[in-house]
Structures are given as C-alpha cells and as structure tokens.
C-alpha cells in the first residue's frame, strides 16, 4: 500500500513540475504580449492625439475662412438671409405648361392611348397592370 502512495506521489511531483514549467513559460509569454500591447496602445494613443491636433490645425477657423474665400463665392451670412418656418412659403402647385398649352389649342387630352408617342409614359401604368395577370 505505501508503495502505491509513493508511486502516486512521484507522478504528482513530475506532473506538477511539468505543469509549473508550462504555466511559467506561458506567463512569461503572456506578460511579454501584455507589455507589447501596452506599448502599441501607447503608440496608437500618441498617434491619435497627434492626428487630433493636426485635424484641428486643418480645421482652424482662420484657415477655413481663407480657403472659403479663395475657393468659393460664399460671403458672410447676413441677417436677412435667415428666415423662420412661418416665413417659408408653401410649395406652389406644379404648373403643367405644355399640357395647358395643348388644352388651349384644343388638342385631345391624352386620354386616348393612341394619341401621341410622347404619351407612352402615361400609358405604361395602365398596360403594366394588365400585363402580368394572375396566371402564375
């Protein structure tokens, strides 16, 4: 019986040594990874703050104003250019000038399908609804 215990003890000892070895080297490897990642993060952060500074430098109002003056026709906003909702006029009804003209000339209103080739588009919806019937 004691020999069995000895045997178990030896296996446990060897096993734990192997395990410890592995854990130790894994830890070293991981902490190297952590250090590397930390370094990378710090580098990225530095890069971000540099880019932030550069972004703001490029977007500084003075520079934008110079560019706007050089490259666009826009001028400074005047107060009369600002309007409230109430001052915006309603959308006007669209005027079909050609249709009106045709009517005044006494032409047929495009009700008959064969009138003009120009009215083909008007025709399309009606024929299209006929086309794919419920055969399927």
């Amino acid at each position: 019986m004691p020999r069995i215990f000895h045997l178990i003890a030896v296996f446990v000892l060897v096993g734990s040594a192997v395990y410890l070895y592995r854990v130790k080297y894994e830890t070293i490897y991981l902490s190297e990874q952590v250090a590397k990642l930390k370094r990378d993060i710090a580098r990225e952060k530095d890069a971000i703050s540099t880019l932030h500074a550069e972004w703001q430098q490029l977007n500084s109002p003075e520079r934008l104003q110079k560019l706007a003056h050089a490259n666009s026709q826009l001028t400074t906003l005047r107060v009369h250019q600002i309007a409230g909702w109430a001052e915006i006029p309603d959308r006007s009804t669209t005027v079909d000038m050609i249709g009106d003209k045709l009517l005044s000339l006494g032409e047929d209103h495009p009700s008959s399908p064969s009138a003009h080739s120009g009215h083909a588009r008007v025709k399309v919806p009606s024929t299209a609804s006929e086309g794919p019937s419920n055969e399927n």
Partner: protein, 593 residues
C-alpha cells in the same frame, strides 16, 4: 569450478527451498522496479548522504553567485530604457463645444551622457552635420564636461532622430517628451495662455490649471500620463471667438486704430463666450506673448470707459429713489466747477428727461444725477457693482482699478460720465450685465457655468424695475440715439456708445480717443452683452469726419453681432416683442408714446 557450481546451485536452490512460494514469485521487471523503492537502512544511508551533498553543492553555488552579484554590481549589464516623457503631460483644453484649443503631442528629444562620450570632437562634428542649427562651440563644451546629463536638442523630428540614431555614437540617447500644441494659432491666445518647453503653464488658463493641483502632482514626482487627466473645457466658443477677432482685425485696418478688443459675456451666467484683444500672439511661440503690445486689454488693461459709464450713473440715480424715469435735468448750460467747465458733445441746451439724457449722452445730465445722489452714495453704489475692487477671474492676470486719489465732488461729476476712474473692461461689462439682467451681479468666468450655479453665486444689486429702465433706455438709444449703427434688425439690440479722450503726458488731450460700444441683445430679455473697444481710431472715409464711437465702434459691433448671433443660437424675430417694457409704459416714460 566446483565451488562456483555449488554457489550457483545454492543461489538457484534457495528459492526452491521455499517451496510453494515459487508460484508467487514476481516477474523480473516488477522486481527491478520494486528494488528502486526498497527502503533498507543499510542501503539508503549512502544514497541520502550523496543526495545531501549534491544539494549543498547546488545551493552553495547559488549563494556564491548571489554574493558575487552583490559585491560587484558593475559587472551586470544594465539595460537602459528611455524614461517616459520628461516634460509631463497636461490636460487638453477644449472650447465649450469640445473643439481642441490646446493638446499634447509626443516629441523626441536628444540628450547626451557626456561621461560616456568617447570622442567629444568627433561627436560634435557628426551631430552638427545632422543638426546644423546647433552651436558647435557650446555643444563641445557640453560633451566635454564630465556631467552625466545634458540636453542636446529638444523636440526633434522623426527624420532627424533616425539620422542621429544611425550615427551610432555612444553616450547619446533619446527620450519621449510632451510638447504643447495650440492648433488654432492666435485664436483665444489671451484666455488659453501658454506653457513653456517643460510644459509648465506660464500664463492664462494654462497657469490656472497648474494652480489646480497639477503642479503639486508633478512636484511629488508622479509621472502623469495624458490619459490620466480630464480635459478642461472653457466657456469660450471658438467660432464666435474667430468671427469677433476677424471683424476686429478688419476694424483696425479700416479705422487705422492702434488696437482693438472685444468681449462677449453671457449676461445670465457670467460666462465669457469670447475675448479678443488685438494685437495678440501665437501661444505656440511663447516669446511672442512678452510683447508689450500683446497684453490682455480686456482683463489687464484699465481704461476710462467714457459714456458707457452713464448706464451705471443712470441706474444709480433711479435705484437711489431720488430720481424716476420721468425726472428732468437742467442741461441748458454747462456745469462750472472751479476752473473746469463740463459741457455736452451734442448740446441740447434744454431741460432733459432721464431717457433723453441717456440717448443724447449728456454729460451735464449725468453729472447732475451723480451730484443728486452724492459722493458717499456714488462710492457705495460703484463698490456694490464691483467697480472699485480688483476683479479676479480664473486667469492669473488681473488689474486693480485706478481710483482718484481724493474723491472730490469733481471726481463724482467726471466719473458720472466715465472719466477719472479707470477700470478693466471686463469689470465694466460685468457691472453692465447686472444692470440689464434684472439686477444680479455675477462674477465673470472662463469656465462653463449653468444658470443654476450662476444664480447661486449672484448678488442682487439693483431692483428689477431699475434694470428694466436701463434696458429701455439702451433700446431707445439703438432706435433713436447714437447706437443705431449696431441695431441689427431682428435681434432687438440695445446699446451705448462711449468716446473717451485718452490722458496723455499733460493731462487729457483730444488728440487720441478710446471708443467703446456696449451692446445688449435681446434688450427685452438680455442674454448676451457685447463690448467693443477701439484704441485711437481715425476719422476715415465714411465716418463724416468723426471718430466717435457711433461712427466706428458702433458699426463694428453691428458687424460682429450679425455674424455671431446665429452661432450663439439667437433667432432673429421679424416682429418686435409685444410690450417689452411694461413698467416704462405704465410710468409714461419719455419715448414710450
């Protein structure tokens, strides 16, 4: 042979003699394995001894090595890492919308350990080849010394760093440092201030931040990283700041002024939205800030504010109860005082009501109001309005007002129309804000503040009725009086002009003037106060030969207002407000009918 044979037989025979045991005999492999762990004292004694000896040798070696390491540490190769950033991190400074005003970027600096430099002459030659702007003589002195640390060059470009690195010189090293960057250049320079090459704040908010504990942390030797620090937000709006600066720059050109400055204050919270003082400086080059001309005129300069002070005088007169909005003042002739005679710039030569005194900017009328209140009352009122004491803000810079040496009746007369008492413009703006916002004096700030925080620290200085009267006369001045140039339609602007003679070597001369304009918008429910100041503007084309505030500071204020109002979220109204001044109408004040 025989004996051998016999021995062999014995050995063989012995187990046989055991008899039945032979059947239980273990296999050869098991026996060998068992013998490994057979604990027999006569056998194990020797083994334990050997083992013990082995351990003693092994640990002895470790102790020996430890002792050697402790005794001769010089043999150990020390690996040097560049220390993290010598110039420590500072928090970012943002404007009220979160736009970056100041931030840190990492740069690399070159240092030398002269005690490790082998050949100083060779090193000098090679370094100056890469960095031609270094002085070779000074560099040689540095490298030939026996010190162990010298800066060679701060803030290298990555390209130069690589070139220096490739020289392969011993005793040179690089270290990462933080460098302060102000991406908007001169914009808001007076508020932000500057930091020196060691990233220590030396003026403006930068110095204020150091005073808030950052310097203590550094002093304690803590290595501060930029992400440990919360950004500092200001009350400044960069867009408004730029618009104002741009317009003031144009004003300097147009009116050939020596300097221009302006400030926008939120009258409800005391936040400074924009502060411009021209000429200014670029905080990226801290040396520029030392120019005499580049002082912060709004905070550090003190000026006799001229007629804009009449708002204070009028409020004092009304709030004292000795005058009402309908009181009349005799402006038929100037006031004689000793050898002085006080007259009006736009003489009316008749009896004026209080609103008329204001819109005609009558010195005589204002002086009579102040005399009616009396010297002690005048002093007490100005004291209450914070005019007689040094105004402290977050900015480390401040200026004490210059009071008359002896406050005589003449002092009261002149101070009534803004001469004889020099105050910082920010102080005047703070007092005027209290006059129009319902009577609450709120100390101005450069940090964001909510209306609740503001009302918690506000002191009530005048009655709401007096405040309404001041708003009324300022609005009246923008429709009928000298402030018309700034009355942008839709924003219901109120205002007051001021043109002060500047005192030269021999007292006042009327060669140079300081023109000011104080605007409030919207006048029925004040939100913003805008002050514009032009130093020594000239009469130019389009000003009809005048150089008074109504011809220069007024129109400039109008331009600024028109440009910044949309940024400030003010909506122009097509219809004027209904009954903006009910009390004035009830009292039947001049101009309401």
């Amino acid at each position: 042979m025989k004996i051998d044979h016999r021995l062999f037989d014995m050995a063989r025979a012995e187990p046989l003699a055991v008899g039945p045991d032979v059947l239980l005999r273990p296999s050869l492999f098991v026996r060998i394995f068992q013998s490994l762990f057979r604990m027999r004292i006569h056998k194990s004694g020797g083994r334990i001894l050997w083992l013990g000896f082995g351990f003693i040798v092994f640990y002895g070696l470790i102790v020996w090595k430890l002792a050697m390491l402790a005794l001769y540490p010089g043999e150990v190769q020390k690996i040097a890492f560049p220390s993290e950033a010598t110039a420590t991190a500072r928090p970012d400074i943002l404007d009220r919308n979160g736009t970056v005003l100041a931030t840190d970027i990492k740069t690399v600096s070159l240092f030398a350990e002269p005690c490790k430099v082998l050949d100083a002459d060779e090193a000098v030659e090679m370094i100056t080849a890469v960095l031609p702007d270094l002085d070779p003589r000074r560099l040689r002195e540095k490298l030939a010394s026996d010190r162990c640390f010298e800066w060679i060059k701060r803030e290298l470009s990555p390209q130069k760093q690589k070139e220096i690195h490739n020289l392969g010189l011993p005793g040179l090293g690089f270290t990462a440092e933080n460098k302060r960057i102000y991406p908007n250049g001169s914009e808001a320079a007076h508020v932000i201030g500057t930091a020196d090459i060691d990233n220590t704040g030396i003026s403006g908010i930068e110095k204020y931040i150091d005073g808030q504990g950052l310097a203590d942390l550094k002093g304690a030797g803590l290595n501060i990283q930029s992400d440990d620090l919360k950004p500092v937000a200001l009350s400044i709006d960069l867009r408004v700041q730029h618009a104002m600066r741009d317009e003031l720059q144009k004003a300097i050109e147009k009116y050939k002024a020596r300097a221009a400055s302006g400030v926008i204050l939120d009258a409800t919270t005391g936040e400074v939205i924009s502060l411009v003082s021209l000429p200014d400086f670029d905080p990226n080059f801290p040396a520029e800030a030392q120019k005499v001309d580049a002082i912060n005129r709004i905070v550090v300069g003190t000026y006799e504010m001229g007629s804009t002070f009449k708002a204070l005088t009028t409020a004092m007169a009304l709030d004292s109860g000795k005058f009402t909005i309908n009181s009349t003042l005799d402006a038929r002739a100037g006031i004689r005082y000793g050898r002085f005679k006080i007259g009006d710039f736009h003489p009316q030569n008749r009896i004026l009501t209080v609103p008329e005194v204001f819109i005609h900017s009558s010195n005589i009328g204002s002086a009579r109001m102040a005399l009616g209140v009396g010297i002690p009352g005048h002093q007490a009122f100005l004291k209450k309005m914070g005019i007689l004491d040094r105004l402290q803000t977050e900015l480390p810079e401040s200026a004490a007002p210059q009071l008359p040496k002896r406050w005589s009746e003449l002092s009261t007369i002149t101070i009534a129309y803004g001469h004889g008492l020099a105050v910082s413009p920010l102080q005047a703006v703070m007092a005027t804000a209290a006059l129009v916002n319902g009577g609450y004096l709120i100390p101005p700030t450069f940090l964001p503040r909510t209306p609740e925080q503001a009302s918690a620290m506000a002191t009530k200085v005048i009655s709401p009725e007096t405040s309404e009267a001041i708003r009324y006369v300022m609005r009246l001045n923008a429709t009928e009086g000298t402030a018309r140039a700034a009355a942008i339609p839709g924003y219901f602007v109120g205002g007051k002009t001021g043109t002060a003679d500047q005192s030269g070597k021999s007292g006042y001369d009327n060669k140079t003037v300081l023109t000011t304009f104080m605007a409030v918008t919207p006048a029925d429910k004040p939100r913003y106060l805008l002050l514009t100041m032009l130093d020594d503007p000239q009469a130019v084309e389009g000003t009809y030969g005048y150089r008074t505030a109504g011809q220069n500071a007024g129109p400039v204020t109008g331009l600024i207002l028109e440009r910044v109002a949309p940024l400030l979220g003010l909506v122009p109204r097509s219809e004027p407000p209904v009954m903006p001044f009910p009390t004035m109408v009830k009292l039947g004040a001049w101009g309401t009918k």
